[in-house]
Symmetry: C3
Subunit: 269 residues, 3 copies
């Protein structure tokens, strides 16, 4: 990726402080909000059917994350998603645990069909479950490699028109034809709950200020992975990792990005 564009988007987030509306899960709400505050965005969490369409009207992006879904929340996701589609702001879907239960897979498919998300970000197992019926996943942690899932991601992108992101040791960002990769990151990131959910919310933040969603998603994953790498170098375990990751995001500068970005040899594979 072009480091200049990454730096430009990072500075834009800081300047514009986009309001990101999150309908997300109970496990990660605190950390997602703090990550958005750390990068300079303004988070709001709201899930009542009575208000989600109104909240979308003042938001610059919408996150739909099904991590602790229930019927009422799915209704609100649909209402908010349709309002966001109508308004033309980006919608980023996180299909947490897709494949773990039929309910999760079905809700994801319904959301994809109705809301037509701009970007879908999941781990390898989740992305594969959205494409291949009958694939089952082990809870919310990935049991497949990102590399195996790339073909599924491309199919999903072509079928839905969404940019599809697979998080993993290598992150893949694809529109079905072109694929970008991010090779920064650290295994300790997978031992902190909700790190993927944070990636989804940061992706929405970048999509709020860059309507080239392929580029926005790539920049978001690069920024996440660089902060994760820097935090892991100081962390003593997953407790301090969670704290240090926020501090790295808070202190991030355009210079830190350029110093730490690893260019991947196999971009556009």
């Amino acid at each position: 990726m072009d480091i200049k564009n990454l730096q430009r988007d990072f500075e834009l987030v800081r300047q514009k402080s986009p309001l990101v509306h999150n309908i997300t899960n109970f496990v990660v709400m605190n950390n997602t909000a703090n990550a958005l505050l750390a990068i300079g965005a303004s988070p709001v969490m709201a899930h009542a059917a009575e208000e989600v369409a109104d909240m979308v009207q003042i938001a610059s992006a919408l996150v739909i994350n099904i991590g602790t879904l229930s019927a009422d929340w799915v209704d609100a996701m649909m209402i908010a998603g349709m309002a966001a589609k109508k308004k033309g702001i980006p919608v980023v879907l996180d299909p947490v645990g897709a494949g773990a239960t039929p309910y999760r897979t079905e809700v994801c498919k319904l959301l994809i069909e109705t809301v037509e998300p701009s970007i879908i970000r999941g781990n390898a197992s989740e992305i594969m479950a959205l494409v291949n019926d009958g694939i089952s996943t082990k809870g919310v942690d990935s049991s497949d490699s990102s590399d195996n899932a790339l073909q599924s991601a491309k199919q999903l992108a072509l079928k839905t028109g969404a940019i599809v992101v697979i998080s993993g040791p290598t992150d893949y960002i694809t529109n079905g034809v072109l694929t970008e990769t991010v090779v920064n990151g650290h295994p300790l990131m997978a031992r902190v709950t909700g790190m993927g959910c944070t990636a989804t919310a940061i992706t929405a933040t970048f999509a709020a200020i860059n309507s080239n969603y392929m580029e926005a998603a790539t920049h978001a994953m690069a920024m996440m992975s660089i902060c994760g790498e820097l935090a892991a170098a100081k962390a003593q375990g997953n407790g301090s990792m969670q704290v240090l990751f926020l501090d790295e995001m808070y202190n991030l500068t355009a210079e830190v990005l350029s110093t730490n970005l690893k260019q991947s040899a196999d971009a556009n594979l």
Copy 2:
């Protein structure tokens, strides 16, 4: 404010360990509970219509925070609030995001009318939205200055009989006639999600042991702001700030309060 009274209330909280019943939002529950434990109070979170009136019977104060409201939760807030009013324990309302959606503003007005909270604590935008119809706010972060909101706070206090608190670089605590200010604090506090919600819960804690709610609210804001200032001096970002703030509250002494309290020149403005 009188430092002796601040110290007295602080020691009373430690001695009495009041049980504070919180009906609050999903984003902040963990940190609110830890902040209450740090200061020496005993937190309980309960929101089921089946039990909130019973929980109020063993509580010394009630927090109603609408941060992630939905219809069921609002019902429970009403039941708990009316039980607390009948029992005569302080009720502190946090109108999170009032003005961001009509639903939030309406629920706040309904709660104020029915429950008659003892204290209302919000940021500048939220307090203005409760007084001035048609004012809209940007999500849950304030887009107005505390100074601008003071007139609204006074109106709200006179109309409702509640003590009204505006959090910001300067905190204002008013009963509509007299106004106290707290000038301690640090901008980093606004970059940690739920710091305002913690202030509301701490305010309820002080109101549980001091029935002069104007004084209780002033003491709570002073204590919060001093701990925030001390934590910010050591923090590396909003991640460590959240952790250090709890540690400062945990280690707080009457002496630390007197060493760090900044007296404001414009008290009773």
Copy 3:
């Protein structure tokens, strides 16, 4: 307890990484998930009636924690609990706040009768409230000593067939006839919200890999208490305690366990 068996179970958790399905409360979800990731388990949080029975099918243990219960969640607890009983995986019940309201006590009794949990873990007040009608507790913090509660724990174990665990300065683990004790630990653990809830989830993790639930529960409490003791030695307050505890769990080794385990003189009292 036999240190060799404790080490064996610890290593088994790391090797097998059991999937633990949690229906737990909003306050602790993030920390519970991180604690499970720290010890090497795979957490999943799911509470929708539409999916809990399916989630149980891929899980190795189920946690039912009533900390922020409501009617819908209780329905899901019943469905999941019955599915787990049928499947034969361990169910660990955390009766948070039993005795604080009649609703909590009644729901616990219903769950115990219907689901027949393998293990029940609570503080002294909660365990006593499940046995002695009319006993009331102060919120979710214990107001009784573990020693006083031991007779109640034995009665509860004999009546229900569950292993009963009382957390406190000394932890008691009893099947009604035999009683094990854990004397490691630190008072600072009680000042971090959800430490008991974490103990419950860790107990479920050990029960997933050791069908001798008496031994599994004892090992879980020993491991929790050792990590708590090590974290407290470095902590500056309850904020850093929460973070350091996760790091200690993450870095735990069989050697650390054997170096730090305190053998109790009064085992099998």
